[in-house]
């Protein structure tokens, strides 16, 4: 890092500060666009739309006498969720466990890798294509292979989740770490900061908005992979329940699972949105 400072002509061009800002750009601003502060009227309209859609579906499906196995009514789905809950929740726990563990492993490795690799431009240039390969290849494709090696338990899914979320966290964090600007590092150094202090007090906070974006996208990817992996094999998890209920043509229960998955997804989004507000609001 000192090396970089020595051989860089001091300029304060804002462009220099963030070469590759553009990739998943705007950082948190992108998240904010969909979830910014709303007025009461807007909230009221959003709820109204939901009521119209759900009520309308209920009405149309009932009036048209659409068979349950084609499309159950919203009330049937909710009823199924409650009556079937004792049988569903163990699977919910399995899915959450796999998602959490897989994501924790993947995200930690991705974050550390990003922090280290961005310190060495040469290494970064060599490694990036492979990380991109990991990001763009659906890790679900590996699940059958992982099942052969690790059996039908949670391990293959956890590995798949880590492989799916880790590179996502890494590539976004790396973008964040790259844009740390020279003037702020020089500032810290002028007050005698050492390399570790520069890392914790300048580079991490500066990268935080992109790190949070990475965590959010990575965890959503993780959810996707968890459910997909459960559908491929094994006897547990919400993904497995989807295959199970659809094979029995128990559509209300099937949709109840989808409802749960949507709730998990939204919770992840809301959590990271709140997290971003707290730790990276300075950028929005």
């Amino acid at each position: 890092m000192n090396k970089a400072l020595e051989d860089t002509i001091p300029t304060f061009n804002k462009k220099d500060a963030g070469d590759e800002n553009v990739s998943l750009s705007g950082g948190l601003a992108a998240l904010g666009a969909a979830g910014g502060a709303r007025t009461r009227l807007e909230i009221a309209v959003i709820i109204l739309v939901a009521v119209i859609i759900i009520g309308g579906a209920e009405l149309i499906l009932t009036v048209m006498e659409v068979p349950q196995y084609i499309l159950p009514t919203p009330s049937q789905i909710v009823t199924a969720l409650f009556t079937e809950w004792p049988f569903i929740w163990p699977h919910l726990l399995v899915t959450l466990f796999e998602l959490f563990v897989g994501f924790a492993i993947g995200a930690s490795i991705g974050f550390v890798l990003a922090a280290v690799i961005t310190q060495f431009p040469f290494v970064e240039k060599v490694v990036t294509p492979y990380i991109l390969l990991l990001v763009t290849t659906p890790m679900l494709a590996l699940v059958p292979l992982l099942i052969l090696r690790f059996g039908f338990g949670s391990e293959p899914r956890i590995i798949a989740v880590a492989l799916a979320s880790g590179p996502m966290v890494m590539i976004n964090s790396a973008t964040g770490f790259r844009r740390t600007d020279l003037a702020k590092i020089a500032l810290a150094r002028s007050f005698g900061a050492n390399t570790i202090q520069i890392f914790t007090k300048i580079r991490i906070p500066m990268a935080m908005p992109m790190i949070i974006v990475g965590l959010m996208v990575g965890s959503i990817f993780g959810l996707l992979t968890t459910v997909g992996a459960e559908m491929v094999g094994g006897a547990e998890g919400l993904g497995n329940r989807l295959t199970y209920y659809s094979s029995l043509i128990r559509m209300p229960q099937f949709f109840a699972i989808i409802l749960l998955l949507a709730a998990i997804g939204i919770s992840i989004y809301v959590f990271f949105f709140w997290f971003g507000k707290k730790w990276a609001s300075w950028e929005a």
């Binding site: 304060f12 702020k184 002028s190 007050f191 900061a193 500066m206 300075w282």
Partner: protein, 272 residues
């Protein structure tokens, strides 16, 4: 160093001493010769302005004085100590205030203490905040403050650790003309009250004349000292002197010198 350096402040000893400073940057497109054999003494308690066109190495010179990057050749010392890394007696004030946007004002000002692992001197900080008129803004974030207020906060941040030398790198370049006048007055007052040694980089000739005891004019490619002017206008200098004929004559004199040095390059940057 061809210009004579007759003392305007008699008896002052050298605080910062630059001798034979040469800096060559190795960049991808080849070597950039930023400084060539610059020798200069900043006297204790002096207000020195360094002025010159873009690319004349004035920021490089300042960064070297701050110990932020090593020289290719030459030596810079403070009170006889060679500067090889940032020195606790030297504080730097940057362009655009350079506050950390994720910290509020209070946390920004406490940064130097945090980095040194010492307890913030709240009494001193409060006195300084009061001095620059920032009391009650401690919990505001930089983006909630005007450019002038941000720069005042950064001045407090630097003075809070009580350095004996302030290095200022075009600190007011991004401010509007009125705020800039205000800040120049403030920094003059602070300098008179505290007796700090200040090296101040600018590319505004009037700003340099208004503030400086001595002006070092640099020329570009490679950056070297073209001439040195003494400014013997009595202090405190009011903002209004900038419109007096004598002041304007000084501006013209320096400008003419710079322009004639620059020859055909003239049109490029003097405006900035």
């Amino acid at each position: 160093m061809q210009a004579t350096a007759t003392d305007s402040k008699a008896g002052s000893k050298s605080k910062l001493s630059v001798s034979g400073a040469t800096k060559i940057y190795q960049t991808r497109t080849g070597a950039v010769h930023a400084l060539e054999d610059v020798s200069l003494d900043v006297r204790e308690g002096e207000f020195l302005c360094i002025i010159g066109p873009s690319g004349c190495g004035k920021t490089t010179l300042l960064w070297s004085m701050a110990g932020l990057h090593p020289l290719t050749r030459g030596r810079i010392s403070i009170d006889g100590d060679q500067i090889t890394k940032p020195h606790p007696q030297i504080a730097m004030i940057f362009q655009d205030a350079n506050l950390l946007p994720w910290r509020n004002l209070e946390k920004n000002i406490e940064l130097p203490f945090e980095l040194k692992g010492t307890k913030p001197d709240h009494e001193r900080i409060n006195r300084l905040l009061d001095r620059v008129g920032l009391v009650g803004f401690g919990n505001k974030h930089p983006r909630e403050l005007s450019g002038g207020m941000q720069q005042r906060a950064s001045i407090v941040r630097s003075l809070a650790v009580d350095p004996s030398v302030l290095l200022m790198d075009e600190p007011f370049g991004a401010l509007d003309a009125f705020t800039r006048d205000e800040m120049n007055l403030l920094i003059q007052e602070i300098w008179m009250e505290t007796g700090k040694t200040i090296a101040f980089v600018t590319h505004s000739i009037p700003e340099a004349i208004f503030l400086a005891d001595r002006i070092v004019v640099m020329s570009a490619r490679p950056g070297r000292i073209a001439s040195i002017y003494d400014v013997d206008i009595p202090r405190p200098r009011p903002v209004s002197i900038q419109t007096e004929p004598e002041f304007i004559a000084r501006v013209m004199e320096i400008k003419t010198r710079i322009d004639s040095q620059r020859g055909q390059e003239l049109d490029h940057s003097a405006v900035a």
